[in-house]
């Protein structure tokens, strides 16, 4: 009996360590690819089922097993999958430090040669998914962050054109407040929405080379990082935020930052390309702000060394596990093809990276965003993603403290530097 229990244990252990080649190829020579994605609502879910079926039809003997999950669930399961060595063959990578960790642990396949054509086609957007000049994932949707605003509230306050400099921006805040409108909502309870202000002022204050060096060397001694914090303080001091912003969540419920913008309680919010979709989900008629939705980029700083047309952004990319069968690479390339990306755009599932699909984006606000993204000299990946969760988390915590008036611009730089040193 003890022997039976022991062998059962061994069997379990072997099964748990799956992901080796034998489990992908069954006796009749067919190959199974496991694919995890987060489009668990229509039309995305159905569209991806069709994409998988088309691929299977063209590649006899390949079977794609899809798991469509809610985003947060997917992240938890991916973590667990990586821990147990049981990650799916094709999955989503957010890039930056997280990807670098996966690469270092030998979990993610190098696609540089196998997908050279696709990488060339996507262009600059792949930068966030490269480690030491090797590309490990193909971004399929990349968006930028900026101010989403309510056109009618701006008109009501007498604002004629969106602000382009920090000074104009502070002027708009005053105008809105004078009209009795809460100017900005921010989900500082979730920390990252507050941190995006600092990311953007850093992008405006620091030269591109300084930022790129900082991501590599984790050295934040350049004075532009303190300057970034000072600009954020200037905005905080103007008191533009919704009452209770310190505990406001980013996107959950009608009193979240997105909910307040969607229901006309505030005039603007700093958010990414997901915002129109999130707002639609938070209003009863499913319209969000509807035709009042508009967008302007983060304003320039008076003496910032950064390019005012550079944008902060990020997105999702398809990655292939180190242990996955070769067909998985073919499938990822197919996901980035003109055909699939156009369908992806037509279904409003995100901002496609394949230039051939640009015409497919029908939503006017998103189409405009796409122009901004493609004309931007470079897109800085969200700093928390770029630095990895440990340094990024410390950074977000300290910036949130600054929003509560309990940290100075210097404290933010020091906290980030300290977390970075612990990392090395």
């Amino acid at each position: 009996m003890a022997l039976a229990a022991l062998s059962a244990g061994v069997l379990l252990a072997t099964a748990a360590c799956g992901g080796d080649d034998s489990s992908d190829e069954s006796a009749d020579g067919s190959t199974t690819i496991t694919w995890w994605h987060n489009s668990n609502n229509e039309p995305g879910k159905g569209y991806y089922e069709k994409v998988a079926a088309d691929f299977e039809a063209e590649h006899p003997g390949v079977n794609i097993e899809i798991s469509a999950m809610a985003h947060e669930d997917m992240l938890t399961k991916l973590d667990a999958g990586f821990q147990s060595g049981d990650a799916p063959d094709v999955y989503m990578e957010r890039g930056g430090g997280e990807l670098a960790d996966h690469v270092e642990a030998g979990l993610t396949r190098d696609l540089t040669e196998d997908a050279a054509d696709e990488i060339a086609k996507i262009g600059g957007s792949v930068a966030g998914w490269q480690v030491d000049d090797r590309t490990y994932a193909l971004p399929f949707s990349v968006g930028v962050v900026g101010f989403w605003y309510n056109k009618s509230l701006f008109e009501q306050a007498g604002v004629t054109a969106p602000p382009t400099t920090l000074e104009e921006f502070l002027g708009v805040i005053d105008q809105l407040k004078a009209a009795g409108i809460d100017p900005i909502s921010v989900g500082a309870g979730d920390k990252w929405p507050a941190a995006h202000y600092w990311y953007y002022t850093a992008l405006r204050a620091c030269e591109q080379s300084v930022l790129q060096d900082a991501v590599q060397s984790l050295d934040f001694s350049d004075p532009c990082f303190v300057q970034a914090g000072e600009a954020v303080e200037q905005i905080i001091d103007a008191e533009p935020f919704n009452p209770g912003f310190l505990s406001t969540p980013a996107q959950t419920g009608p009193t979240s930052a997105s909910g307040l913008l969607a229901t006309g309680k505030v005039a603007m919010e700093l958010a990414g390309h997901w915002e129109p979709g999130v707002m639609q989900g938070l209003t009863e008629d499913g319209q969000g702000l509807g035709e009042n939705t508009a967008w302007f980029p983060f304003p320039a700083l008076p003496d910032g060394a950064g390019d005012p047309t550079a944008q902060l952004g990020g997105g999702d990319a398809w990655a292939v596990s180190e242990e996955a069968p070769d067909e998985a690479v073919e499938f990822v390339k197919y996901l980035l093809s003109d055909e699939v990306q156009t369908g992806f755009a037509e279904n409003d599932m995100g901002l496609p990276t394949n230039p051939a699909a640009t015409g497919g984006v029908s939503d006017p606000a998103l189409a405009e965003l796409l122009t901004v993204r493609d004309s931007s000299p470079f897109i800085q990946l969200y700093f928390d993603t770029a630095f990895g969760e440990s340094v990024g988390g410390a950074m977000n915590d300290e910036i949130a403290l600054m929003f509560a008036g309990e940290a100075t611009p210097q404290d933010v730089v020091e906290a980030v530097q300290k977390a970075a040193e612990e990392e090395q």
């Binding site: 821990q83 270092e104 642990a105 309870g189 209770g244 310190l246 410390a394 403290l401 509560a404 309990e406």
Partner: protein, 342 residues
């Protein structure tokens, strides 16, 4: 006390010594009835029986308690991001960085505020309500139910409800306050660092008062009716009766409740996570939210492991100290009275 128990009848055996006494009786009985050769096989069969019955429970404890505890201790001496091999051994570095972390020190402080705050608030309130509900009065069943309902409500549901009620500006609490001309704090009750922890403490009191009341009511049933009757005959007032009879006799129940409350407060997580997530500005972080934040959010599993071991040690030390200094009195008095009675 001069009389030692010599041959207690089974019915007289009770309390903490019961198993030992029963074993002794069984042994004696076995000696009397069993044939000399059968003794050894009997003992073996007994051991086998015990092993058989205890094994499933032990296996579950090993799998779900001992193994995770051991894993946490192991993680705590490595720097580890949650995947790949455990190889970056750092010794006690993680412990040092947890113990010198301002946020963790704040978290320990918050935990102790909750430990003492809960007892100081819930003990008088719970006792008062229990004494009140112990009297014959109209609507007693209904009142008991109302007070107990929050305790049976799932923590997450209660948390979400309170989170909505306490929303700044649009929430019910703020609406009522502005309705009667009071000024709610600009950042809301949960968004103002100076208020947040106290608001969490109030919500916890609302949630856990029911448990205190139910335990005290149960304890009150154990106070013999005759004592009340004789006190009445002696002309004692209601207050005198409560002060000199009820509360002293309720002592063991109160002390046990304090113990449960203390351990719950040290491990506090769900309500804080839902209401504030440890914010604003780390004003409500507890040891448990700290370790979850470090572990699953930032993937510093080594730091989280160290924090969890520290939480375990603090809880364990407090539990042992409480047993030793406070609960032991109960067991000792029990023993003494039993000996005196014999």
């Amino acid at each position: 006390m001069a009389h030692e128990v010599t041959d207690p009848a089974p019915a007289a055996v009770s309390g903490h010594d019961a198993p030992a006494a029963r074993r002794a009786i069984a042994r004696r009985a076995a000696r009397r009835s069993g044939a000399p050769g059968g003794r050894r096989s009997d003992a073996w069969r007994k051991r086998l029986e015990i092993a058989l019955f205890v094994a499933p429970a032990l296996a579950l404890i090993a799998l779900f308690v001992a193994w995770p505890v051991a894993s946490a201790v192991r993680f705590s001496v490595y720097r580890w991001k949650g995947f790949g091999p455990l190889e970056d051994f750092v010794g006690f570095d993680n412990y040092v960085s947890v113990l010198t972390d301002d946020v963790f020190q704040g978290a320990v402080g918050h935990n102790f505020i909750i430990v003492f705050g809960s007892i100081l608030l819930q003990l008088p309130l719970g006792l008062g309500i229990a004494l009140l509900l112990n009297r014959d009065m109209w609507g007693r069943g209904l009142l008991r139910t109302i007070i107990f309902v929050p305790y049976v409500l799932a923590e997450v549901i209660a948390g979400v409800v309170w989170f909505q009620l306490l929303q700044p500006q649009y929430g019910m609490v703020d609406a009522i306050m502005s309705g009667i001309g009071l000024d709610p704090p600009a950042q809301g009750w949960l968004g103002t660092p100076d208020h947040a922890l106290w608001v969490v403490l109030l919500v916890l009191t609302w949630k856990y008062l029911g448990l205190a009341v139910i335990l005290f009511l149960a304890g009150l049933q154990g106070v013999p009716e005759e004592l009340y009757e004789s006190a009445q005959l002696d002309g004692a007032s209601w207050w005198q009766v409560q002060r000199s009879i009820t509360i002293p006799l309720l002592g063991p129940t109160i002390r046990t409740w304090c113990f449960l409350s203390m351990i719950g407060s040290l491990q506090l997580f769900d309500m804080v996570w839902i209401l504030t997530g440890g914010g604003p500005a780390n004003a409500t972080t507890t040891m448990a939210t700290f370790l979850v934040n470090q572990g699953t959010d930032r993937q510093n599993y080594g730091i989280a492991g160290a924090a969890s071991v520290i939480l375990f040690v603090i809880s364990f030390a407090m539990a042992v100290a409480y047993q030793f200094f406070i609960l032991r009195r109960d067991t000792m008095t029990e023993r003494r009275t039993r000996k005196a009675a014999a």
